[in-house]
Symmetry: C2
Subunit: 201 residues, 2 copies
């Protein structure tokens, strides 16, 4: 099985190094109730602005609720459906854009949902599961399919499952699965002292 | 030293359980160059939509660049300054709101910056450091102080340091430091199958 550990200049925590977004998911291995709960707990304990916890997570588990899973799956772009069809678990992450305590706009709603979902994906990695977050889905369709209140904003759909051999994928996903993980060099996005002054390694 | 592990219904990865946002920071312990680099690396390897990596991280290290640190500190709300004064490292996280590849609006810019910063905070926890993300700062002032391009959006300032005894804090921070960490019950934000149908524990 591909591991694709992050190629870092200095060591980082093994959990952070091992999380990556595989697309090769085993269609025959389901996610237990306790595993799902641990994913939700990891998200739940993420930090948030004013402790607002602006995330809403809708679990669609193929094993226990295939109708909900089909509804979520039907919202995905065809390009994603090609490989997501094997994922036993889909989680729709939605953001509440206004603070609970005063109804004002929460600038950090998506920011905090992103942090919570990263926690969720890391917990999955800790359990030996793989996750793949997707923005490519029909959000209006998701709103309609699940009666999501109009004032909430869809963020991502997360596919969760057990990773399997890359050979199950067709192109272009097979090639992408095998490709090395890459990132911008540290100096592109990391500065010190003043803007544009690259962080010296 | 307070640990305040997340109080979860099922176990989660120890790294995720131990991260929390202390305000009691030791003013006499600085963060090494290698530690800072590992924080940046953890953020760098976060996932992002279209691999855009919309985060920009500006490091202001009191030990090596006190002028930059002072500039960042001066942007903070007074209420934050009261305890951030002891933090040896401030990192300003900024979001690039348009995709590199086509210049179109990136709906997930803040989402992805939030994920990257959660990685950064978790890496800090892995190193035995504490982090505290803040939205309470003057963003226009930060733009001006660091010549941040107008088309970028400030997200958060992150205080980083070694945690110390809560007793160094004055009120109301002392009380907050000792208070139990709380979250909404899992059923408030986590649903299954359909909207509003709480996830059954």
């Amino acid at each position: 099985m591909l591991t694709k550990l992050a190629n870092t200049l200095v060591p980082i925590d093994p959990l952070l190094a091992k999380r990556w977004s595989s697309r090769a998911i085993d269609a025959n291995k389901f996610i237990s109730r306790e595993q799902i709960l641990s994913l939700l707990e990891a998200a739940r304990w993420a930090p948030s602005c004013y402790a607002d916890e602006p995330w809403r997570l809708l679990v669609c588990d193929k094993a226990t609720n295939p109708e909900a899973w089909e509804k979520a799956f039907a919202c995905l772009a065809e390009s994603n459906q090609a490989w997501v069809k094997n994922a036993p678990l889909l989680i729709l992450a939605v953001a509440s854009p206004r603070f609970r305590h005063n109804g004002e706009k929460n600038r950090w709603a998506f920011y905090d949902v992103g942090g919570a979902c990263e926690n969720l994906c890391l917990q999955a990695a800790s359990l030996g599961l793989t996750t793949h977050q997707m923005g490519g889905f029909d959000m209006a369709k998701a709103h309609a399919a699940f009666n999501i209140p109009e004032d909430l904003d869809c963020a991502v759909m997360i596919a969760v499952g057990y990773q399997t051999e890359a050979e199950i994928l067709s192109e272009p996903y097979y090639e992408r699965e095998l490709a090395a993980r890459t990132r911008q060099p540290i100096e592109t996005n990391c500065f010190e002292g003043s803007w544009g002054n690259s962080f010296a390694k």
